[in-house]
């Protein structure tokens, strides 16, 4: 057990014992019993080892503050929720206070602080669903603004990021207004589902009366199932997703593709455009399509993720020596999305999507799909250009974009005294 894990564990035990000695002691006794039982089977990880792993993961922290917000270059964890909010604030001051409070509470939750206790006759200050300590669990809260926040209500119009518009309706779309757009988008990601659920609940409580839910959708990542730790997870069409993402470790490349450049309002420096689209995938229909056709629509081998004609996921598809689409059809998804030519180099986007599943529709069909997320420097040059190319791809029969929006994720907060969006309000 590492020092950090041990500390977390002890803190937790102490709090538990303090709060109710019997329950706390019981928990420790149960853990010890599991350890003994597991010791009899040495090839399996022991209960103690498993406990240690989960504790180590829960203790991982992703800082809220920095030149860029967290949750953009951060590797996507297993769980997410996206909540679009509309502002009810009657004036700019109220909105500003709500946003300040939002950052303050988001920072506390990402840091992982003990839940504060008030007097026993007051409602608790935290719902408490994670227990007495809110473990950080790699939690990120990414706050982004929609175009409608820059309308006449709050006097922010002059500082609107240059390309921040209401998401256009693309030809493949069937947008439901109730699941589209919004003044704000909260992207909440963590390893554990309960961390995400707790964070949304706490943040909504923080801004109650000023910011109200417009739409919400939960996402999850496919598990890393190999064969190597580098292989991309799968989407709900069973194909690997994210293979051609630009490497986030390349800071110069991120400056070209993700972070906004000159020509934007000064406060926006360090920010990025976030395109969020709820793309329904008609999975029953997809499952009735022959494997050859599936692979030709995507341009990759379903099992390995290799480009057609290749053997490994990260192999170059070599369109340069396949100009007629003999190997990878000219209208295959990967070929239209990223033609890999010098002219399309600066159109690449950083995708950070999550699968979703949310019951079934009125026709008994599973409501599943992709919460598509792309971060890009210029939606016009990047996302929208790609989307236009994809408007004629054969895959469009199997998907329906039903919602989402264009948002702008401002730079991160400098430190504990700062908040996300402060630059905008100082400038406007």
């Amino acid at each position: 057990m590492s020092e950090l894990d041990r500390r977390t564990f002890l803190t937790r035990s102490a709090v538990l014992l303090g709060a109710g000695g019997v329950g706390g002691a019981g928990a420790i006794v149960r853990a010890a019993t599991k350890t003994e039982a597991a010791a009899a089977v040495p090839t399996e990880p022991s209960a103690a080892q498993e406990w240690s792993v989960s504790q180590a993961q829960l203790a991982q922290r992703e800082p809220f503050d920095g030149p860029h917000q967290a949750g953009i270059l951060t590797p996507a964890p297993a769980q997410a929720t996206f909540a679009a909010l509309d502002s009810l604030a009657p004036d700019r001051k109220t909105l500003e206070e709500a946003l300040r409070a939002l950052s303050l509470r988001a920072r506390e939750l990402t840091d992982g602080t003990p839940t504060p206790l008030l007097e026993v006759d007051d409602p608790p200050a935290d719902s408490g669903i994670l227990g007495p300590l809110n473990d950080p669990d790699v939690l990120t809260v990414t706050i982004a603004f929609g175009a409608s926040l820059f309308d006449q209500r709050y006097g922010l119009a002059s500082q609107r990021p240059r390309e921040l518009i209401e998401m256009p309706t693309f030809s493949v779309d069937d947008l439901d207004p109730a699941q589209s757009h919004g003044d704000l988008l909260l992207q909440i990601c963590a390893h554990q589902r309960d961390t995400v659920v707790h964070t949304l609940r706490e943040l909504l409580r923080t801004v109650r009366g000023s910011l109200q839910l417009r739409w919400n959708i939960d996402g999850f990542s496919g598990a890393a199932r190999g064969p190597s730790p580098h292989n991309s997870p799968r989407n709900l069409f069973a194909f690997r997703d994210g293979t051609a993402n630009p490497p986030t470790s390349d800071a110069a490349l991120m400056n070209k593709l993700v972070w906004v450049a000159d020509g934007e309002p000064a406060w926006a420096t360090g920010g990025t455009y976030q395109v969020a689209r709820i793309i329904r995938q008609h999975v029953e229909f997809w499952d009735r399509v022959g494997l050859n056709e599936q692979e030709n629509m995507i341009g990759r081998v379903r099992t390995s993720g290799a480009p057609l004609g290749g053997t490994t996921e990260f192999e170059e598809p070599r369109y340069d020596i396949d100009p007629h689409g003999k190997r990878i059809p000219l209208d295959a998804h990967i070929r239209l999305a990223n033609p890999r030519t010098p002219a399309t180099e600066d159109q690449r986007i950083l995708r950070r999507g999550f699968n979703y599943t949310r019951g079934f529709d009125a026709a008994g069909q599973l409501d599943q799909g992709l919460m598509f997320v792309a971060f890009n420097q210029s939606p016009e040059r990047q996302f929208a250009t790609i989307q236009q190319r994809l408007s004629a791809e054969p895959m469009i029969d199997y998907i329906t974009p039903v919602g989402g929006g264009y948002f702008f994720a401002p730079p991160g907060a400098r430190d504990e005294s700062d908040w996300v969006g402060s630059g905008l309000f100082a400038a406007a």
Binding site: T169, D176, R288, G290, N292, N296, P317, A363, G364
Partner: protein, 355 residues
């Protein structure tokens, strides 16, 4: 409906599995399997489903069947190739010609239904107009297997386009046709204000009738439509997505069923003797037809809207439609006109592996 779909050459895994299994069993019986002789697949064969599901779910294959077939064909984890001998593309000339003639007849009938709609609108008769709209809409869906692509996709959009894909939605001036009128008739618009839309619809239907008899229908597109007409019903109609105001998804599904039956009737000569597709599809479509009839009977003789279905009725219809679709999804694989081409390998010397 009537969306463009990529031309396809599909292998039906189930078919290949069964061929391979038959070969595997034959080889095993002869005792040659022990000598690692690879069997050569040969026709004929039958599907081998889980025994207890055979009547309703012939597409459900046991993992024992799949594993043994894959093992027999190419070794573990390999996907069996299609082995059904391809059909001549010209074999589709007859069926598609029949379907084109049928489509022209449907549009002729639709024109008179749109005229009835115009009369009801002129009289500001909402009930009469809704009734005429239902008839015209169901008639248009009978075209199911006609691909309206290229310049004709604009005409299709004008007749049957949805608001969701248009900037401005229902307020868009490009929002015209059946669904524009549906929007007016099932919301608060005065029926007579929709008359100009009905005139435009009539004009567009007439235009389409003039060209639909000459359009080309690719063999594989046609084979694919055997299951895609009803895929539209499951995806867009019973969910209400394409009929958000009238919720006439059951009516639309029934029209899709009729179009599918028309397609299957024209394909019967081609499908005969190829896999076990005809009897399976026939059983499933008959079940769907009787379920839809039972729904009409339960609702006073006319087809209920999506929202009038009880939960039990909705489950029955959705589930039966799903079963029919699983059966129909075997049709394209049974009607291949060419073997899937071998995909050339990416040259090894140029392979660049990224981290």
């Amino acid at each position: 409906m009537l969306r463009s779909i990529t031309s396809r050459w599909t292998t039906t895994a189930a078919a290949a599995v069964c061929v391979a299994l038959a070969a595997f069993l034959a080889v095993t019986a002869l005792g040659v399997g022990r000598h690692h002789t690879r069997p050569t697949a040969s026709a004929p064969y039958t599907l081998t489903p889980f025994a207890t599901y055979e009547a309703r779910a012939p597409h459900v294959l046991s993992s024992t069947v799949i594993n043994s077939a894959q093992g027999a064909v190419q070794g573990a984890a390999a996907t069996p190739p299609s082995v059904l001998p391809p059909l001549q593309a010209s074999a589709f000339n007859g069926p598609t010609a029949q379907y084109r003639a049928y489509a022209v007849r449907q549009l002729g009938l639709m024109e008179s239904q749109v005229r009835r709609l115009q009369n009801a609108l002129a009289a500001n008769d909402r009930t009469g107009a809704q009734e005429a709209w239902r008839a015209a809409y169901a008639r248009y869906l009978r075209l199911g297997a006609v691909y309206l692509v290229g310049p004709l996709s604009t005409l299709n959009q004008a007749i049957d386009g949805n608001a969701g894909s248009l900037p401005g939605g229902t307020a868009s001036p490009q929002f015209t046709g059946l669904h524009r009128i549906e929007y007016g008739l099932w919301t608060s618009a005065q029926p007579h204000t929709l008359l100009s839309q009905a005139r435009l619809l009539n004009l567009n239907v007439h235009r389409l009738r003039g060209v639909v008899g000459k359009i080309s229908i690719e063999p594989l597109e046609y084979a694919t439509r055997a299951h895609e007409i009803l895929e539209d019903a499951a995806r867009d109609l019973l969910s209400g997505a394409d009929v958000p105001w009238s919720e006439e998804g059951v009516l639309a599904t029934n029209a899709g069923l009729q179009a599918t039956e028309e397609v299957m009737a024209t394909l019967r000569p081609l499908l005969t003797g190829r896999e076990n597709t005809i009897p399976i599809v026939k059983t499933e479509l008959a079940t769907l037809r009787s379920v839809i009839a039972s729904l009409a009977a339960a609702h006073g003789g006319s087809l209920p809207s999506n929202t009038q279905l009880t939960q039990a009725q909705a489950e029955l219809l959705d589930g039966t439609l799903g079963g029919a679709l699983e059966a129909l999804s075997q049709v394209p694989g049974s009607l291949e006109t060419e073997l899937p081409p071998q995909i050339p390998q990416i040259p090894r010397r140029d392979v660049r592996i990224e981290p």
